[in-house]
Each structure stands twice: as C-alpha cells, then as structure tokens.
Amino acid sequence: MNLTLSEEQQMLQQTAREFADEKLRPVAAECDEQQHLPIAQMKAMAELGFFGLIIPEEYGGIGVDTLSYVLVLEEINKVMPAVGTITSVHNSLVSTAIARGGNEAQKRKYLPRLASGELIGAYALSEPHAGSDPASMRTAAVADGTYFLLNGTKSWISSGKSGGLYLVFAVTDKSVKPSRGISAFIVEKDTPGLSVGRKEEKMGLRASDTTQLIFTDCRVPAANMIGEEGSGLKLALSLLDGGRIGIAAQALGIAEAALDEATCYAIAREQFGHPISDYQAIQFMLADMATEIEAARMLIYRAAVEKDQRERVTKEASMAKLYASELATRCADKALQIHGGYGYVKEYAIERIYRDARITRIYEGTSEIQRMVIAGQLLGK
C-alpha cells in the first residue's frame, strides 16, 4: 500500500495547517470560554472550500478523495476540535447523504449551498432514548398530501442552532421492522414546526452548539425525502464508515496537539535544575505518545485509502475510530500529567484539549459499539 502523499494532498494539508495555525489558534481558547463559534474564521473556511470537500465538483464542491479529507480534518482538529466537529458532520454525514442518496433535483438544490458553506449541515439521528440503538427512535413522519408531518424530539445535534439544513431521520411505518420503517428527510432551518430546544452545557467542544431539535407538526415536503420511503436506516448505516473515519481523524489531531503541548512544556519547564524533558519518566511518556500516534495514523490513512477502493470498510473504520479515540484521551491525560498543576488550569491549552478529547470515545459510536462491530466482523455475525 502506497501512503506517499500526492502534491495536491501535501498542499491541502499545508494550507489547512497554516489556516488553522494562523486563523483558528488565536481564537480557540476565547471561543471555548465564551461558547461561541468563530464566525469570521468559518466564513473564511467556507470561501476556501472546507465545506465542499467531499461534494463532487459538478455540484460546486471540490470532490477530494477520503485521504485528502482526513488530512484536512486532522489539521483543523489539532487546533480547534469544535470547528472540526462541525466540518466533519457537515461533510461526512449531511453532504455525503445527499450526494449519495439524493435525487438529481435534491442534489442541484442543496449541494451547491452546502459546498459554499451558505448552509451548514446538521445530522439529526439520535434521540433522548435512542443513542447507540438508533432503530428505537420515536420521531414519526406521517404523510399529509404532498407533505410529511414530523413529530418528536432529536437530541445531541451538533450545529443544532447554527446549522441551516438538517438531515432528519423519522419513523414512516411503525408496522414494519426499523430497517424498512425509517426514512430520511432534508429539513430546512425555517420550516414551520421546527424549533431549536435546549442547548447542552458540554464538558468540551464548547465553541460548538449542541442542541435538541423539537418537531411539532413540522411540515416537510415529500420531495425532501432522501431515497425511497423506508430506506432511512440503511442510509444512516451507509454513512457510518465515513463518519467514523472523520472522527478518527479528529481524535488523531487531538492526540497530536496533546503531544505538541507536552513536548513544548517539557522542554521549557525546569525542576531540580533541569528541564523536565531530561527525565526518563517524561521522555518515556512522550515516546509512547509519539509511537501510538503513528500507529493510529496508519490505521486511519489505510481505512481512508481503502474506503475509496471498495463499498464498505466497516471493520477498518471501526478499528481506526476505536484506537484513535482511546489514544486521544490517553495522550491528553499523559500530556496534562506532564504539565502538572499548570495542566489543570485554563492558562495552558492542554486543559481544553483534555476536555475536547473525551467526546471522541462517545459520538459516532461509542468505543463499546466499535468493539461490537469489530468482533461481529471477526466472528461473521
């Protein structure tokens, strides 16, 4: 397998790195503290094309391969995972769903606006009672002439408030199995009957808004259903590989950021007359982090390359996501330990990195779900 980056991939990586470093880094701590998005910086990201990464060129996007996409996500997440999450959900889930499952009219109508960043995509699958088990969702969509009436509550919606287009899953037929009874809808922000519910007070990713979405007789045109009625769960499952590779890239970026912070601190901090980087206890922590980061990188890049070569990479994507997310929290923990007391206060970036890292083991399938998936693939279940 050839993992030499092409000229384009190197340039995409370099541009994302410079942009994140020069534009996002100066505002990352303040946005986290004040719980708001860096609006001007995200507008610049939109102009540069970050929101059209995986949308095909004919619909106004850039249409990069999965490895290029991963390289860009990695760089953004090294600096500001709150923006990384929005970029990932927008690209991996919402844009991919429409590009893959939408009809020509839906693609023409929505993809250019998603690619330009005019609409930020939000993905509404989870519900208060349906997390790891999305098939148990209760939000219902009932046909009403050329419309569907949606009723129910979605939860944990990234960009719930700031998003402009929601990809919503709802039960269209209770009498059949969920695999044939759930449908996917494109719901625009200003649709009557849709309201944004409580904004969650999160531990990390505090610059991004995560909210509930409440549907009360929300009238959605039947033309906005993606694919055939009852094909929603299948669509959701088909997005998992890409979504997991995206979050794995986020976790990788976070792990690298933790190592960078720890290395800089260890060189600068002196105790007993020496930089603490002179001590083997610190050196071994740094060495382990760096080694495991390379291992995670290989898992993720390989899953990304293979995703462009075949239909499903379920096992590879789950392995990459499981390993990278567990690593991100492990690295954040070690890096904080190296900072000592300074790591426990907001003066140093590692405090935020530690909080941001934790969610990667939970969303896009918990570590426990990933292990179930991997074991299922091994055992042929």
Binding site: E7, E8, M11, T15, E47, L48, F50, G52, I62, V64
Partner: protein
C-alpha cells in the same frame, strides 16, 4: 488586462542558510518557498485580474523544483506559468537574471508586470528596475497601493515620511511592498485545479541567449567571502522608575530617532 507577475523561489525563510564551496547559497539543502515578498505581488496580480479581467501569467526563473512553488501560486489563482530553467543559469548575477527575465517578457503579452519589492535571499531589490530598463518601460517601485485605469498605472510610493503618488502609462513595470495587501491562502478548489493549469518551460536557447553570457561564467560580480553577522547588544538598566520615560526620550533624541 494581461498581467505578468514575476516570482522567485527562495530558501525557506526560517531555515539556516548554508553556502556551497564557491560561496553560493546552497539551495538544494533546504526547502524552497515562494519568495515571501512575491506573495504580495502574486496577491496584487490576482486581485487586479479579478477586478479587470484578462489573463494572469506567472514568470519564474529557477531550478525545475520551483514547479512546487509555481503550483501553489496557481492554487492561489494564477492562470498559467512560464518557468525558465537551464543548468547554465546557475550562479547568474542580477544583470544576467534581469536580461533573462526581460527576454522572456518579450515573448509574452502584457499590459503590466508586477514584482515583489525584493527577494529574501539576496535582498537587492534591483531586478525590477533593471528589467524595466532593458525593456525600455517605466518602473513604478515600492507601491503600497496600485490602481490601474485609463491606460495608466498609479501607485502610492512609500518612503520614510509618507508617500508620493506616481503614475506611468501602460505597459509598465511595478514592484509592491508588503503593506499593499494580505496574500490569500490557496483555495482548496484551486489546489485541486493547479495541476491542470498550463506550465511552459523555456531553456536559454528558446530565449536566444548565449549560455556564456549568464550563470557563473557570465557573472560580472564575484563573491569572495561570506561571514556570519553577529550582533552584540549592550543592555542598559535604568532603575529610577519615576524618571524612566524621560530617560528613554532623552536616549532616543540623542540618537536622532525621535
């Protein structure tokens, strides 16, 4: 409006510079980047092209590996490029470089040629006027603002105490300073399209220039020595906090700095 922007690839600004045995900058040892001053020239050229239409060509003299920097400029928005690359050009002095660039410019169609103010490696800042002289065109240098309209170019020419407004009829040659704009990032779409843009390569023969008149062989200047510049600082500690401002003002005034 057809614009040509000239670009040099320089060693990464942050890298430690090394010299070859014949006291030339060892370019192979460090990564090359777009000469940082030229980024302002490229940005200005792209912005003017976006405003006025026409075609934007980048002209570069350098080794084959300069293609990487050229592709970056293309990703920013340059339409096409010409790279003059010939082993005989190694070691060219600034007069030879200006002659080569002028010869290439005569093969291109342009209304205006834009340069950065200088290059970060040799920092002479003289190529622009030399090229203008060889082409018999007016040179507008050190522009902090450029307006192209009514068949002429008008610049604000910065100097120590303010600026002069200077104009010249088109075609002309302009150099810009780093206060003129903020260079854009290459767009992600631009990066993906850069490879598809036209890059033409010229050899010396294509320009009708005799190899013996350029490169080390034709250089009118010769580097005899290269020494590291060491700066020594003599700190002065003034402890009377109440009179510190007065002391500093006095210090600066004595040296005619204020």
């Amino acid at each position: 409006m057809n614009i040509v922007v000239c670009m040099k690839e320089t060693p990464d600004t942050t890298a430690e510079k090394r010299f070859t045995a014949d006291l030339r900058l060892d370019r192979a040892a460090v990564a090359g980047v777009i000469n940082p001053y030229d980024e302002y020239g490229i940005e200005e050229a792209i912005a003017q092209k976006e405003k006025l239409g026409g075609e934007l060509t980048l002209l570069c003299m350098g080794p084959a590996r300069a293609e990487e920097s050229i592709r970056k400029a293309m990703a920013m928005g340059v339409d096409k490029a010409v790279l003059i690359s010939d082993p005989a050009l190694e070691g060219s002095d600034l007069i030879a470089t200006a002659r080569v660039l002028a010869a290439a410019l005569q093969k291109l169609t342009f209304d205006i040629v834009i340069f950065g103010q200088a290059s970060t490696d040799s920092n002479a800042g003289m190529i622009v006027t030399a090229v203008a002289e060889l082409l018999g065109l007016p040179a507008l240098t050190w522009a902090s603002k450029l307006t192209i309209e009514g068949g002429k170019a008008t610049i604000k020419r910065s100097h120590e105490t303010g600026y002069d407004v200077v104009e010249a009829p088109l075609p002309c040659v302009v150099s810009v300073t780093q206060v003129i704009n903020e260079p854009r990032y290459p767009s992600l779409k631009g990066i993906m399209q850069a490879k598809r843009k036209e890059l033409t390569s010229y050899k010396l023969a294509d320009l009708g220039i005799d190899a013996s008149s350029v490169g080390s062989a034709g250089a009118g200047s010769k580097v005899e020595a290269a020494n590291r510049v060491t700066l020594t600082r003599t700190p002065e500690i003034f402890k009377d906090a109440d009179r510190a401002a007065l002391y500093i003002a006095d210090y600066l005034e004595k040296r005619k700095l204020i």
